[in-house]
Amino acid sequence: MRKSIKIVLRALIGIGALSLMVAGAAQARVDGDTIILGSAISLTGKYSTNGIHAKNGYELTVKKINEAGGVKVGGKSYKIKIVYYDDESTPARGAQLAERLIKQDGVKFMLGPYSSGLTKAVAPVTEKYKIPMVEAEGASRSLFTQGYKYLFAVLSTSEQYLSSSIALAAEIAKKNGRKPQDLKVAMAFENDPFSLDVRAGVADDISKYGMKIVIDDKLPRDLSDMSATLTKVRALKPDLLVISGHSKGAATAARQIKEMKINVPMIAITHCESAKVIDKFGPSVNGFLCPTQWSETLSYRDNFFGTAAAYDKLFKATYSNYKNVPYQSAQASAAVMVWIDAFERADSFDTEKLRDALADTNMQTFYGGIKFSEAGNNTAKPMVLRQIQDGKFNVVAPSKWASHPVEWPRKPQ
């Protein structure tokens, strides 16, 4: 072909493609009578288990609202649909996919990925394009110190995870005639951003009470053995042992505490549920204190799902292989509820109006209260502390929500 014809042809194709993209983009966020939300989530890779829990949570709310007729905006009812891409548990991929959702698929309303690491990768993208994102699975405190205006999180942030255990230890000390400042605390945290955030919260609370830190170990990310740390615990006899290392840390701690018959009056560990410590280690894990974002026994309620227990029942009926509903699913369902509430209050699809509506959220849900601070994190819902008693999780703190008294001191099992 002649060179000039080639050039013209290429230019025409280019213009055609561009116009298709632009036209596609304008339609994608609201497709006829369906509102499209987007999410990059971990369907494969090391976070896949929790990524799928979160996706099921998102989908349950979507199913329920669509069955009820949809969301009312501008006098018309719209169904909701969520577009998912698999971020393969890799932050770089998550950021890429978020960019694709926003730029190519024209999504204007985002839901968060699983894990703080992935949320940290996606947040700058949504912030850059001024697309509001409601996330339910990134608890790291550092997400909310960056000045993001378009990020909203329904879950309690990381530094709150273990702080109620410190408060509980102080309370029990006072009841037994000891001063909180005489307490010795042993800490073992995995050396990753989330666990170190949890540690920062614990360290803050410890200094508030004036307690003494006798062990401060940062466990390496790779080796799943804490026997050296536990030998130290046996030698130094602390009053409280605090451990956070995702499910690996919980499983390793449960096993080795049992094996080495470590005797500490109070032991608090995160991620007990996702490590399935009760299933795996039986009665030896009685007495462990495990923080949780949500429990189906709490007396939260709303007009959409009803009580926490009702949500639990509906989830188990909808998804067949769940013995316990993980809090990752509950908070994901709450995130979609936040979007629905924002759509109805803003009564518009304009992203700026929606961002402002999200910032003004103040609602009660089966998952807990949701009210966002300036920085975007939820200040209306506390982390709840549960203790494993006779092979079951019972809420023991904060006292407002406690259903059982705490068993103290913990006898070695």
Binding site: T44, G45, K46, Y47, S48, T49, S89, A188, N191, D216, D217, K218, L219, P220, D222, L223, S224, D225, M226, S227, A228, T229, T231, K232, R234, A235, L236, S247, K248, A251, T252, R255, E259, M260, K261, S274, A275, K276, K280, F281
Partner: protein, 300 residues
């Protein structure tokens, strides 16, 4: 740090705990490291999928617990199963990269590692799993030192397996063939040894040893599809320090590594556990460099 040292001095019995834990941990590393030394020495293939073979063995044990069979019986099953799997890997992948350059063989085994990780993740999910052995813990020295029986069993099994492998290498025809091929592959071929068969056997033996180690690891610690890297790295460290032909050296190094990790975790804090091991590796390499420089000077 000094406080922790003081604790060790004041309560010497704790040293025994750390030493014991270290030796028991090290014995399992020794198994994975020996397999790597075999493959590296005989075929000059640096197997980056070593840790993933270990984790696969661990999942065999996990499957046994799911089927309500005691995981200790998974040991022979994992050994034989991984042997077969190793043979398959050799025939499909490794055969094509023997004799090629370093980069190709690393890339091939790295690709295999990724494939195995993702396959295990798809089949078993990304949760950590463990295989409960139900064994108890023994207490010595008035309750100050605890030894989990399963760790002791693992030490014994590792020793037995190593002994078997050593005897096999010394006495059997295949063992002789392997040693001959390791010394000089071309000469071995000239003498009528089927080096392809030898390589396949070596690689499969490595996979089998790793599988057995994995069963023990699942019973003592936890496994997860992406934890293989730990065991790969430590195997490489041990083999680098001990040298390739040297089973005795590998065992001693592995035990020393385990003990060193425990002590440094206790004294310096758990976050320095890996750092101290790598520092020791660097120190050994520097020492070796100095020694060889001296030798070179003498020759000149």
């Amino acid at each position: 740090m000094l406080d922790n040292l003081l604790v060790l001095v004041q309560a010497p019995v704790l040293n025994i705990q750390l030493l014991l834990d270290g030796v028991l941990i090290g014995s399992i590393f020794a198994m994975a490291a020996y397999g790597l030394a075999l493959v590296w020495g005989v075929m000059n293939v640096k197997n980056l999928a070593q840790g993933d073979f270990v984790i696969m063995g661990g999942y065999v044990a996990y499957v046994f617990t799911e089927l309500d069979i005691h995981p200790i019986y998974a040991l022979p099953v994992a050994f034989v199963g991984m042997f077969g799997f190793g043979w398959l890997c050799y025939v499909v992948i490794i055969r094509r990269v023997i004799g090629k350059d370093l980069f190709t063989s690393l890339l091939a085994t790295f690709g295999l590692a990724i494939l195995l990780q993702q396959a295990m993740n798809l089949v078993f999910g990304s949760d950590v799993q463990a295989a409960e052995s139900g064994f108890d813990t023994r207490f010595l020295f008035g309750g100050m030192v605890s030894v989990a029986e399963i760790k002791f069993v693992a030490l014994v099994l590792a020793a037995v397996l190593s002994a078997c492998v050593v005897v096999f290498m010394k006495r059997s025809r295949m063992g002789q063939a392997i040693r001959a091929t390791a010394q000089d592959a071309r000469a071995a071929r000239v003498l009528g040894i089927n080096t392809d068969r030898v390589y396949a056997f070596t690689f499969s033996l490595n996979a089998a040893i790793c599988g057995a180690a994995g069963v023990l690891i699942a019973m003592i610690w936890v496994i997860q599809p992406f934890f293989g890297m730990v065991y790969s790295v430590r195997s490489f460290v041990i083999v680098t320090v001990a040298g390739l032909g040297n089973l005795g050296g590998v065992i001693v190094t592995a035990l020393g590594l385990g003990a060193a990790e425990q002590f440094s975790a206790f004294i310096f804090g758990a976050e320095y556990q890996v750092a101290s091991v790598v520092l020791m590796l660097v120190a050994v390499l520097i020492w070796r460099q100095i020694q060889q420089a001296r030798k070179r000077q003498v020759v000149e």
